[in-house]
Structures are given as structure tokens and as C-alpha cells.
Symmetry: C3
Subunit: 400 residues, 3 copies
């Protein structure tokens, strides 16, 4: 299935037609801040980088340089994806460990941002746990390194990649979409396809909202029928709902909110059942953490888990899967999933469903390192198609 | 003592005569699963890589790529050896931290194996603490990435290097053997040499069995007289005993089990006194950990330590050393050793003995990064001698 | 402000005139062990490396190789500086984690030093917490790897960079001085400038003495009027006082100790107000840690904090700043600072003062990675100007 040189050249040709100037030396925060050309360029570059790697062509465009990762949360998958992306391009990763529970203050953030950036080409940040904080933190870092560059502190301005914030999870949603594009044989086949982004029960508490938000914010751009479903009270951010509505209108698709999994799954081409915490709970939690009220936090967790437990029937069963298009909807998840009878007693999905989709799930995840690498690439090269053509012509072997 | 280009060429010539096709894209689990040619090829490539480095010739054969390390145990030495080996070849290391005490389940292992392998060239695993688990874990990872490759999830199949499991410790035993080969001036001088692999007292509990198993499983291939000695009850795995017996028969050496250190040390050319836990205790421990019976674990530890204490006289003293061949047997240890009067009150070896062998001990350890690099090299290049010839011809300086 | 090729060539020309032979394959421990030529060479190489990077010229002189970092203390800044320096030259960093509170013993240090050095090109060590221990530890490591090399254990001898010991903090003081040289428009403008290195109050306890020691030990070489000020009892090491006196005499500057901040700040061109622990307290602390007397340690901390609290008026206020030369002395700090009203109630400096100097403070810090890289470079290349000329001629792009 390895792509030929002619196919790679043809993808580069497509890329050439896309306007990406504004991505140069810029950050990637939310997919809906990017134009259609920019979104398509990320997909194109990701596929080209993957095809080159599969053909043992080196894409090491940095002769040295650092990719700084800041994980304000534990993360194995995203950590490895970011490290893989950096390595693919020739950057070495340096992790900045910050205390998980600590909500950073402006001044400290500015100082640290500069201190770690003297030789940074890119900074990848994951900060998804506190509503109203993650994106703000990234903006503060972004501004701090811009000032550092303007003031002559930094010899270049590192660009930022959002590895998940409280609002969006663009590397996830774009990896998911690239998987969908490949699964359905091309972006042109997505019009009219129905995707069910639904809440699902999990015995754990407080999962971030950025996955469902990222999915509806991106998938609504492709003329699809996007349905969001969750139990009462499990709302996501209103701003993103607006984004999805506008996208759907523009793309000729639709967006609606359903109240049952059944309605969302009915005739769906794609289902994405996943747990998240109610927005209101996440807001209260952020407030309590900020005030150091840890007893009340425990109480909030308890209440939240009790409430979750009322919706154990929100789970992706074989029966539900049968109601999807031809009973064969593509099942998606950002992993790890809470699998009933395997990783927990009752969870998001039946084990038999999950097992049947193991290979697609792994493929879905496999796009993430390439998506991240594409985001870095487009932020670092003014003429990405020219650079890629040169790499293809040089055809320097990765394994010599 | 730096080797000349002619000497390196001659080693490459030797390598050319060895059949290594089956190592290509394959894993390295146990030395006894490898043919004599394959074992010799590892030694040869290790020496060539070392000679090249000593001559400031770069052996960076990967232009980018990742070496994933999984240490289900704390480890400074093996961690640095693996990192050094990867760096020598151009791979960047990414550590996968897993909880030390956790025995992983199949599904999770499969998922994680794929998630960290999207750009992995090699995976090094150390998992030696639980009998019946370490090797099984490695096999699961190996199969998972093979499936991942077959299913189009991974663009290549990373190969595995066993950095120590419950059964074998091939990077240790092969570094040890390369040290012995150099110490005695060539593999042809090993026939008839006596090695005493003996248990020794240590105040710590539960040291893995893979070192003695690895030593008898490998050293018995070289026509040596291999003697294993331990107190009653401190048996090692029966399967490996069988391997040693067969090897000895084939190689024209011998293998026997002695009941005293005195018998083992008598006229020995090499002594390897080292503590380990009884196989039966390790089995019970694995069971108790699996069942989460931590009180019983403590009790097991207490009983084991009490039992150990009965054999404090199993220690490598100056008196015992005098009984070895000319009183000058080569003392070996995988380090760190429990040194009586230095790191503990009573331990595996007298301080004066240990101190006298400091330089040989460090040399012994110095082979490990090159052994690991050789294992990776042979798994990644179909024509290793051709690739090494090319590196020698190019003679690209490592320090420019 | 990017330097031109002609300017870089002119700096290389200057470097050519400096004697650096003794730095080759040598360690960097204390600035006062280096000749003026050697100190100037570090500044020159640091500036050249920075200018090359700003011109996107690769300075990757190692095709593979390891920089080992040993932090016997938590450190984000120094860790990133060392990692950046290594990356700039082509070395990959491997961290050796040692327990923070552990004072290592000779034998263990020797063994570990060899075990991590089989492929190490450079070892960077930070060990500043225990008086009489940090430098000793570094010397032990240095001797161990020298022996390892002599004995044929190591194929090369890694060189050491002192990333902060109990006596000196050369990468900090030299980054500080390079900042000062640039700030005042050249080293020739420093003669007669007054610098106040003063103690300042901090609510935290036991900050190391190596910063004030490093500053007076280095800044006294440039014909400046160096004033050290601290409350009674907050003495620093007498040996370093002697160094500063001798340097001042030789360089035509002066060195004196004042008893008040007011006296030190009066007409100062540069002020460096910073907390540290009294030498006597640090000595007692080291003793108590060594003896495992943790209750007494807590008591010592309590007494020390109580004593500190008597000197809360030792703080860098706007009023004090007004008394400096034209009210505009350059404010310096190694960061992070204890800022009154921001990071603590009462601290080393008023927030308004700190904020006004934010950009200079960040610039000050920005020199450190280049200083470290210069130290490594000079230890690894016998003909540094020749090597730099070659890099400039090749002009290989860092971002391709």
C-alpha cells in the first residue's frame, strides 16, 4: 500500500494550490481558527510525510533544534506522538515537568516560557483539565515568546502546537478526520455521512470536554450530518456549539443535539461514544482547585460520579451498533476507552464491539504523529511544497 | 590499543562468513534461540562498532528514528547502555514509564505496544521481576507490533531487544562473554576453562534469576566446564538447566551442579558469585502480587530473608579465591555487587577481592552498549557486513 | 541585530589570538582556575555560536554522542540550558537521576561515573547543596573517568562542566558577565564600574552560596569595583574572598565588603541582590544530613529562618535603586527571584523594580546555553578557531 513517487508528487501538487502563508511562524490552537486551505494543508502534509517515511525517505529538516513538551497532565500517547513527530523532523524533545495540580500564574508562565525557549523551535502543550485555563495558558506562553523574540531575548520565536486544551484537541480531531477520510476513500465521500458524537458512561470522573468539542468543531466542516448527544446536564461549551452550527451551514451539512444515544446512532455512518464531565462541573472544579478547597473537590467528585451512574445505559452495545447504517458504522475513540467487562465493570463500550474495531482504532491513532509533524512543518517552512519536493528529490534514506 | 583499519576489515571479513539472515527484522529474546553463527555475529558486530568509535568513525545508520525503552524496574545501567547503543546508531530514546509493581494485562499491552510504536525502530524491554511474566510480556508486545504492521497500523515492525526478562538476560551474558573472550585472548582459548556460577549471600531479597540462567545458558556453548552452585532450595529454572546440559554436550564442555561454593571455586578460571532468589519463592511472589496479597508478600520477604541468612558463609572471600586456578580466577559480576563492609555488613564478596577486580569489572560492563547496538544492527540490516564496509569506507568522523 | 559573516570572522580572528590548549580534553570547574585567555575564549566562542545560530548556520559538530547530566538538585533552567547546549552541538542528553538528599560515597560515585560514561562526551553536574561536597563529588567523577580511560574501560574521557557546585557557579557567572559586557558595549567599558553583590531577604532557607561566590570571583577580574554586602553572620567562603582580592589587585579594580545594602548600592552601576544561607549554617546542615539527624535539621532550618527574618529590610526597593548611578543601575538576578508581593509577601526585590528589568533579566539568562556550549566546544576541539571557520565556510543550514 506504499505510495509511489508519482503519487507523492501529485499530493505535493495539491498542496501547492493551498494558501498556507498565515501558518508560517504561527501557532495552531483551534481548528476553527484555520481556513479550509490550512486544514487541508495539514492533511496533505501529514500524508506526504507518512508516504515518505514508508518509502524510507528522510524528512529530517532540522539539523538540530528542540521541541519542548509541556504536559500539565499525564499522557503516554500524546507524549509519544509529539516525540515521534519531532524526531521525524529532526528535533529533540525536552519535557518540561510541571506539577499536575498546579494552576500557573501569569508571571511565572512568562518567565518559564522564555527560560525554556532559548533554543526551542516548537512548544507542544497539553493543558486540558481546567475550564478557562488551558487555552489561556497557551496564549500566555505564545505572547511571552513573541515578546521574548521582539525584545531580542530569543533568537527565534518558537511556534506552539496545542496538544489538547480545555476548548479543542486539534491533533486528535484532525487525526480522527484523516482516518475517516481514508476510511471512506476520500474527503469527497463525506458529504451527507452521519456522525454520532455521543456521551457514554464511564466509572471515572472529570474527563475533558475537548474531544467532543474538537470533533463537532471540525467534522461539521465537511458537509456531514453531525449529531451530538448527551444526557441532560452534560452540556459542552456553548461557543463551540455555535462554531459547529456555522460550519454545518457553510458546508451544506447539518448539526443537531439529540437527547438519546438511540437517536444519534440511528443510521449513523460513524459513532464516537465517549465520556466527559458536564461543563458546569468542570467550571466548579476549576474554581475549587483555584481556591484550594480540596474537601469540597472530593465532594464534587462524589456527586458527579453518583450522577454519572444514573446514565449507565449510555453505552455502546452490540444492539445499538445494529441500528447504525447497515449495522456497520465506523466506531471511533481517542483511546484509552473504558471497556465493559475488560477495563471496568460497566463502561463506554461492549468488549465485543471494541474488539471488532481494534485495527481501525489503532489506525485512527496512527495518524496523530504525522498530523503533529505537519503542523510543525507548516509553521516552519514558508514554501512547504518546495521543501517537500526537495526532500523527495534528495531521497536521503532514513535507514541508511 | 585502537584497532587499525586492516583489523576492522578482517573482522568484517569474518562476519561475512556468518549466516545472519534470520536475525533481520527479528527479535532477540534468549541466546539459546540463536544459532552459533548468530551469537558470533553479535560479538563481531559489537567489536567492529567499538573499533569504529575508537577510530572516531561515525556509525550513525539512522537519519532519524526512535528506540523505545520499557523498564518495568528501576535501572540506571541498562538504561544508559540502551541509550548509548541507540545514540551510537542514530536513534533517539523515548522511555515508556510504567508502574513498577503493575503486572500488565494482555489487552492493555497490545494497545500500548502499538501506540508507542508508530515511529519506533526498536523496543528494548526490561521485565525481570515476575517469574512467568517477563518473557510473556515481551512475546505479547512482539506479536502486537507484528499484527500492527500486518494490519497497516505501523509503517514498519519495530524489533525487540530483551534487556532482561525472567528467563534470560542476553545483553548481560553476551557482554560478559565478550569480556571473557578478550580476557583470555580469543574464543579458541575457552575450551576446558572452568567457570563457577555460584549463589552468594546478600542482605537484599528477591534478586532475579536471569543472570545465572543467562550465564549457564550461554557459557555452556563454548566448550567450558560450567559449574552452577547454590544452597539447597535456591534452584533456578529447570528448562535452562536442560539448555545448559545440551549445550555442554554439543560443545564438548561439561555442566554440573555443585552443592558448595568450595567445590565450584576449586581450580576455576572464572568465578561469578551472585545472589538470587529461589525459583519457588519467585513463583509464590508473582502469585501474591497478582492476587494483591501485600501482607502475605511482606511475610514471604521476611521468611526469604531469614532463609538467606542461613547461608551467609556463601560469600566470595580471599580464602576462596586462593583455591581457584593459580589463585587468580577472573572475578565477574553484573554490578552493583553487595560488598561486605562497604555497601553492606555481610554480602556477596570481600571488599579486597572486589577492589582488586575493579578494572576488569568495569571493562566487563563496557561491552554492554556495543552488544545492544550489535543486536539492533543485525535486526535492521540484511547485509550487515556490506553496511559496515560502507561505514568504514565513508569514514565520516563522529566528532567532526 | 544579527551579526554579519564579516563580524563572525572577526570574532574568530580574536579567538585565534587566545591560548586555549589547556582547555582541550579538560574540565571546567571554577572560573579562577582558568586564565584570562581561557575566560575570554569562552565568551568569544559563546558569541560566535550564537551568531551562527542566528544566521541559521548549523554548529552540529558531533554526528552522535551523549551529554550526561547529573542534577543532585531540582533544576528546570540549568537542565534546559545544558540540554540546549548539547543539542546545539549534536549531543543527546541523558539524565542521571540521583536521589536529591543523598550524599554519594566515593566507591559508588566511581562505579556510576564509569557505568554512565561508555559513550559520554561530556558530563554536566549540578551539586550545590552541601558545603564541602559538591566540588569534591565532581573531582571524584573527574578522576574516575580519567582512570576509566587510562585503564581502557572508556574509549574516550568525557569532560566535565560544573553546572553549579558548592564553591562556584561558572556557567551562571559567565552568562551574567557576557550580559554585562554586551550591556555596557564591550569589556573595555567595565573598568571602574561598580557592582554591588548583596545579600537579600527571602522567606526560603538555605539558598546556595555559589552565585555570590561565582560573581565576586569572576567580576573582580575586569577592573571593576566589586562590593560584597551581607548582614553579620552571612559570610561566604573565605577562599573565594581571597580570590576576589587577588583578582581586583591584578586587574586594577577593587574588592571590599560592606555591611549595608545602602553602602553597596550607592552609585553602583550594577546591583545583584540575592539571598543565600550563612556559610556556617550550610556547614552544619551538611554535617547533620551526613549524620542523618533530620530532627536537628528541621531545628536548624527554623533557627535560620528566624534569623533571616531579622533582615527583611535587606531588599531591593525603588528607594534603594534611586541611590544607584543615575538611579539606573543594571539589576541582575540568576532567577527565579523572590519578588515582594508577587511570589512571596516579603522578598528580595520590589515587584516594580523586577518588572522594569524583565527584558534584561531574560537576556542575562539567554547567554547560559551558549556559555555551556562554548565550554564543551573548547574542551573538545584542539583548534577551536579552525573548526569554527570550517563551520562558517560550510554554512550548513540548521533549518534546512
Amino acid at each position: 500500500m506504499k505510495k509511489t513517487k508519482a503519487e507523492i508528487l501529485s499530493m505535493i501538487e495539491t498542496l501547492k494550490g493551498l494558501k498556507t502563508e498565515n501558518m508560517y511562524l504561527n501557532d495552531f490552537f483551534h481548528t476553527w481558527k484555520e481556513t479550509d486551505d490550512e486544514i487541508n494543508a495539514v492533511f496533505e502534509v501529514a500524508e506526504i510525510l507518512r508516504a515518505m517515511r514508508e518509502n524510507n525517505i528522510s524528512t529530517k529538516v532540522f539539523d538540530s533544534g528542540l521541541g519542548i513538551s509541556v504536559f500539565r497532565d499525564n499522557s503516554t500517547r500524546t507524549r509519544f506522538s509529539f516525540a515521534s513527530a519531532c524526531n521525524l523532523l529532526g528535533l529533540e524533545v525536552q519535557d518540561l515537568d510541571e506539577k499536575v495540580s498546579q494552576i500557573a500564574h501569569g508571571e511565572t508562565v512568562r518567565e518559564t516560557a522564555n527560560m525554556v525557549s532559548f533554543m526551542a523551535d516548537v512548544i507542544g502543550i497539553r493543558d486540558d483539565m481546567y475550564i478557562g485555563k488551558g487555552h489561556t495558558y497557551m496564549k500566555t506562553v505564545s505572547e511571552a515568546v513573541q515578546e521574548g523574540y521582539n525584545d531580542g531575548v530569543l533568537e527565534q520565536r518558537p511556534t506552539l502546537v496545542n496538544l489538547q486544551c480545555d476548548i479543542d484537541h486539534p491533533t486528535q480531531s484532525m487525526a480522527d478526520m484523516l482516518h475517516v477520510i481514508n476510511y471512506f476513500g476520500g474527503v469527497e465521500n463525506l458529504k451527507g455521512k452521519k456522525i454520532a458524537m455521543t456521551w457514554a458512561y464511564s466509572p471515572s470522573y472529570g474527563k475533558p470536554l475537548s474531544v467532543p468539542q474538537g470533533i463537532i468543531g471540525l467534522f461539521s466542516r465537511f458537509g456531514m450530518d453531525v449529531v451530538l448527544a448527551h444526557p441532560e446536564g452534560y452540556d459542552i461549551m456553548g461557543d463551540v456549539i455555535e462554531v459547529a452550527k456555522e460550519n454545518a451551514a457553510k458546508s451544506g451539512g447539518s448539526f443537531k443535539i439529540a437527547n438519546t444515544m438511540e437517536e444519534a446512532f440511528k443510521d449513523a455512518d460513524i459513532v464516537y461514544p465517549k465520556s466527559w464531565a458536564p461543563y458546569a462541573v468542570m467550571e466548579e472544579r476549576t474554581k475549587l482547585v483555584g481556591e484550594g478547597k480540596f474537601d469540597e473537590l472530593k465532594d464534587l467528585e462524589k456527586r458527579c460520579l453518583e450522577n454519572n451512574a444514573k446514565f449507565k445505559n449510555w453505552t455502546c452495545t452490540e444492539e445499538l451498533m445494529k441500528t447504525t447504517k447497515d449495522g456497520k458504522a465506523l466506531y471511533m475513540h481517542c483511546l484509552p476507552a473504558d471497556i465493559s467487562g475488560l477495563s471496568c465493570k460497566e463502561g463506554e463500550v461492549d468488549q465485543s464491539v471494541f474488539d471488532r474495531y481494534l485495527v481501525p482504532l489503532y489506525k485512527e491513532a496512527s495518524y496523530k504523529p504525522y498530523i503533529i509533524a505537519a503542523m510543525i512543518f507548516l509553521a516552519k517552512f514558508k514554501d512547504p511544497s518546495g521543501k517537500l519536493t526537495q526532500l523527495l528529490d534528495d531521497a536521503k534514506p532514513r535507514i541508511k
